[in-house]
């Protein structure tokens, strides 16, 4: 329940970012503003698929945990972490390209709204990834007989929130 309350608060945080983005997006006659580059759709579509598959892997890890299948839990949790790390890697590559184009958080409203919204999401992915990696380490090292059902369930719930939020942000920022 604690994680659920936290996620509701997180939802409001992202709601605030999206509201600010809407003000700038609808207020501007052209988007992206003249002189600003278009955001890459193809690469980020692939990245979206990677993140969704990673969310699915986390779901299957939970299913394996419920069956008492420790090898399955280890395998699927590992794939979820790998998917999340790949997503962050591709994001980092894309951001480096944008910075080379001159789009930074302080360069324009376009850059500021992009980095605030997508950056906040990336920070959440990174935090969730650390959480999942710690759980994976516990399972692999066998320090605990099995991670507490609450800890694993909470991590999976948080990861599910981060994963399901991304297609909305992607559609809003990259496709619209």
């Amino acid at each position: 329940v604690g994680v659920l309350v936290f996620l509701v608060a997180e939802g409001m945080l992202f709601g605030g970012f999206v509201a600010a983005f809407l003000v700038f997006r609808l207020g501007s006659p052209a988007w992206p503003p003249p002189g600003e580059p278009r955001l890459p759709v193809g690469l980020t579509a692939l990245n979206t698929a990677v993140l969704l598959l990673s969310g699915l892997a986390a779901r299957w890890a939970i299913a394996a945990h419920e069956r008492g299948d420790r090898a399955g839990l280890r395998r699927w949790l590992g794939r979820a972490v790998l998917g999340g790390a790949t997503f962050l890697g591709i994001q980092g590559f894309e951001w480096a390209r944008l910075v080379r184009f001159g789009v930074t958080a302080s360069s324009s409203v376009y850059g500021a709204s992009f980095y605030a919204l997508i950056g906040a999401h990336a920070a959440h992915v990174a935090a969730a990834l650390v959480w999942l990696a710690v759980l994976l380490g516990q399972v692999r090292l066998g320090r605990t007989d099995r991670p507490g059902a609450g800890a694993l369930g909470a991590a999976a719930l948080y990861w599910g929130f981060v994963v399901l939020l991304w297609p909305l942000l992607w559609g809003l920022v990259y496709l619209w």
Binding site: V1, L4, V5, L7, V8, G11, M12, G15, G16, V18, A19, A20, L22, V23, F24, R25, L26, G27, S28, P29
Partner: protein
């Protein structure tokens, strides 16, 4: 010369009510935007932007709390359902809980046999 505090409060309340009614009747005054400072002609779409963001932020808390409620309800109803291992065996149409032909003669079967012999 002093006025009673109750009367002063009533005048204050009436003034506030009048001001609210006046603002409601003058939409141009009510539409005043605290952050719309010299946006220039290129920011003409700002009003729809503020409108949709206000709608989003008004609706979002209800959506989030409802989603959390549905999630919790689902968890509770799943926890209430007994699992396959703990569920008692289902009774058939005759009210028997096991396969009748294979059932070994238990105490009930012995009593039935005694009844028949009488």
């Amino acid at each position: 010369m002093g006025t009673r505090p109750g009367a002063r409060f009533a005048v204050y309340e009436a003034g506030r009510g009048g001001l609210a009614a006046g603002l409601a009747l003058l939409p141009a005054a009510a539409d005043a935007c605290a952050v719309c400072v010299e946006w220039g002609r290129e920011w003409q779409g700002l009003n729809p932007g503020f409108y949709w963001s206000a709608v989003l932020l008004t609706v979002l808390p209800f959506v989030l709390v409802a989603a959390a409620g549905v999630w919790l309800h689902r968890l509770v109803s799943m926890a209430d359902q007994p699992s396959a291992s703990t569920r008692p065996p289902r009774a058939d149409s005759r009210g028997l809980t096991g396969p009748a032909p294979d059932r070994p003669p238990g105490p009930t079967a012995v009593t039935d046999a005694r009844r028949k012999s009488r």
